[in-house]
């Protein structure tokens, strides 16, 4: 306690110097904490976006790459592939085929260009769409290629304004369709406005919207039973499709399976690396701040040689002197660390409102930054403190 007030008094005697020295530690600490907060924030944001798409979603694309040369666009995906996945993939809870094209849609009031999609009735479950009004497709409607549609809220606004959409009619090309359902709003993903769509049964879509595309399937969407089942679902789908496509052991896949979970993991790995890298740079900055502390402490010891001599003459032991200067260095770095965390909180708050992210100070990062600043004080304070403690009292008193 006594050495603390002593150290405080010594630092207050040279305020500007103490402040500047503290600044180095402050910046280092703040950098560590802010970088980690940004990393955590970015991760949370990506996580939220993926959750919006559906964390358990698994997408299967036909691989139209020309790697095989001869194979070209021969195989593709089919309704049969989707049906096989539905029956045989135990880790999958729902499957739908999915085709889309951009088309102009007309209502009695207005017209609007949007994505017109053909899907199975399981689409809503797979993508996690809820209905705000009306209902989804029945098995019968899908089988009979009924002229019914479900629309998103963006389309409803463009075509019907504030009018209730369910029960209204709209026209795509030559055919008129009855609106039977309105999707609950789902918001934007990084890729699309999820509410900007018109959804038809796949059969209806093939025969009336895009007769030219035949039985082709642009995409199969599946959902794993849970997020944890994603990897197994991916593997099962791959096995099923390779068998159905008669691919030999040495031929590559003619499709690509991508799970949101896999995507998230890849994103996380990249974020971890970037956060780690920047954090390391910030830690280096913190240590450079420590070198500044050592420098100032050495100057301080040199200036106060006489003081050390006097203290020794009245009975201070080497340990007393060592402790005095060490506590001073620790006080410098620790207050720098605490202030740095305060600054980090302010900066994070500012960044959060500027970026629209939710940024929270990471408890672990705060602990690491604080303990590093204490450690820096110990490591870089010990040399000057030892130098002071080893002074020869006779020489020390003579100086000054």
């Amino acid at each position: 306690m006594n050495s603390l007030s002593l150290a405080l008094r010594a630092l207050l005697a040279a305020k500007v110097r103490a402040l500047l020295t503290t600044l180095g530690i402050l910046i280092g600490t703040a950098a560590v904490v802010v970088v980690v907060a940004l990393g955590t924030g970015a991760r949370a944001r990506i996580g939220a976006e993926i959750a919006n798409i559906g964390t358990a979603a698994v997408f299967v694309f036909p691989d139209t790459g020309m790697r095989g040369g001869a194979r070209a666009a021969a195989a593709g995906l089919s309704d049969g592939d989707a049906a096989a996945i539905r029956v045989d993939a135990s880790a999958v809870s729902g499957v739908t085929v999915w085709n889309t094209l951009r088309a102009r849609v007309h209502s009695a009031y207005d017209s609007y260009k949007t994505s017109v999609m053909g899907v199975d009735q399981e689409y809503f479950q797979v993508r996690g769409f809820a209905l705000a009004d009306g209902r989804g497709f029945t098995d019968g409607e899908v089988r009979s290629k009924a002229k019914v549609v479900v629309i998103g809220s963006t389309v409803r606004r463009e075509l019907f304004g504030t009018e209730p959409a369910v029960g209204q009619w709209l026209r795509i090309g030559r055919h008129a369709y009855r609106v039977i359902g309105l999707l609950a709003e789902k918001g934007r993903t990084p890729f699309e406005d999820q509410d900007d769509r018109v959804i038809l049964p796949i059969g209806t879509w093939r025969s009336r919207v895009s007769p030219a595309s035949g039985q082709r399937v642009q995409l199969i969407m599946a959902s794993a039973r849970t997020t944890a089942h994603s990897a197994r679902a991916e593997e099962q789908i791959r096995t099923i499709l390779r068998e159905r496509h008669h691919l030999g052991a040495d031929s590559p896949d003619d499709f690509v399976v991508r799970s949101q979970e896999g995507f998230r993991k890849a994103q996380d790995a990249i974020l971890d690396m970037v956060t780690g890298l920047l954090g390391a740079v910030a830690l280096v900055a913190l240590f450079i701040g420590g070198v500044g502390v050592m420098n100032i402490m050495l100057v301080s010891v040199a200036e106060r040689t006489r003081e050390v001599g006097i203290r020794m003459s009245i009975g201070a032991r080497e340990g007393d002197i060592l402790l005095q200067f060490l506590v001073e260095a620790l006080l410098l770095t620790t207050s720098g660390g605490v202030l740095g965390i305060g600054v980090a909180a302010l900066v994070s708050h500012g960044l959060a409102s500027a970026l629209g992210w939710s940024l929270r100070l990471d408890g672990g990062a705060v602990v690491v930054a604080l303990s590093t600043s204490v450690l820096v004080g110990l490591v870089f304070g010990i040399l000057p403190a030892r130098r002071a403690a080893r002074l020869d009292p006779v020489e020390a008193i003579r100086q000054g």
Binding site: A13, R306, I314, P393
Partner: protein, 251 residues
């Protein structure tokens, strides 16, 4: 009288720029408790080295030093720090007070290193400051005190641990004659009334004349050691000095 200091064949050599300098050749010196001893000599005579050895700030190269019956020349740094804290009080020419620190806290400092509790420290420091006549200046920092007052704070600091031996190294070197005699009469009082032992280094004959015994050092040896038949009373000298000061001031 009991023997407080006993130096036997004490020498101290320094290595300066590769060559050996013999600061003390061979010194034998005994000081009894309750004596007021002045050590005099020209600069470079070795009197400061002698003072540093007596003060356990420096270790003799050879010889033995017994302080209050304890052989101290062979003690290590921490043991010597303890001896300085328990047995010795220092008064320096430059006062050597802690800057930006009140008279009271300066006086408390030796007790801090002794591990004395705060209230006990305060009590003893106040008593020491009262003893040197600074009861109304206890919260002043050194820059707010005159030279004489600063030196009295230093004396209070030396007294606060109640040490058997007070060492004063040119304590009046920075003071005018009035404050010089103030400090000297205080030291004489401490010897006369409180039975303290004072060893004072000076190169001023007037100052040395106030001691009971004058030890003269030259070229690292004691060349004379004489009892003063009738030491001068600093109180009388102080009155003279004050009168002269008033006279000069009036003229």
């Amino acid at each position: 009288m009991s023997r407080l200091v006993e130096l036997r064949s004490v020498g101290r050599d320094y290595l300066v720029g590769g060559s050996l300098v013999r600061a003390l050749a061979s010194v034998d010196l005994t000081i009894d408790a309750g004596q007021f001893v002045a050590i005099v000599g020209p600069s470079g005579s070795g009197k400061s080295t002698l003072m540093n050895v007596l003060g356990c700030l420096d270790r003799p190269t050879r010889g033995t030093y017994e302080l209050a019956g304890v052989e101290v020349s062979s003690k290590d740094a921490d043991e010597r720090a303890l001896i300085r804290n328990r047995l010795l009080g220092f008064i320096f020419q430059g006062f050597n007070l802690m800057p930006r620190t009140s008279a009271l806290e300066n006086t408390e400092l030796p007790l801090v290193y002794r591990g004395v509790g705060k209230s006990e420290r305060r009590r003893r420091a106040l008593a020491a400051l009262v003893r040197v006549g600074l009861h109304d200046r206890v919260h002043h920092t050194p820059t707010e005190l005159s030279g004489g007052q600063q030196q009295r704070v230093a004396i209070a600091r030396a007294l606060v641990t109640d040490p058997p031996l007070l060492l004063a190294d040119e304590p009046t070197g920075n003071l005018d004659s009035v404050t010089t005699y103030e400090v000297l009469s205080l030291l004489q009082e401490l010897v006369r009334d409180a039975g303290r032992t004072v060893v004072l280094v000076t190169h001023e004959p007037d100052v040395a004349a106030c001691a009971e015994r004058v030890v003269t050092v030259r070229d690292g040896n004691i060349v004379s050691d004489q009892l003063v038949a009738s030491p001068r009373d600093a109180r009388v000298l102080l009155e003279d000095a004050r009168r002269r000061a008033v006279h000069v001031g009036g003229a």
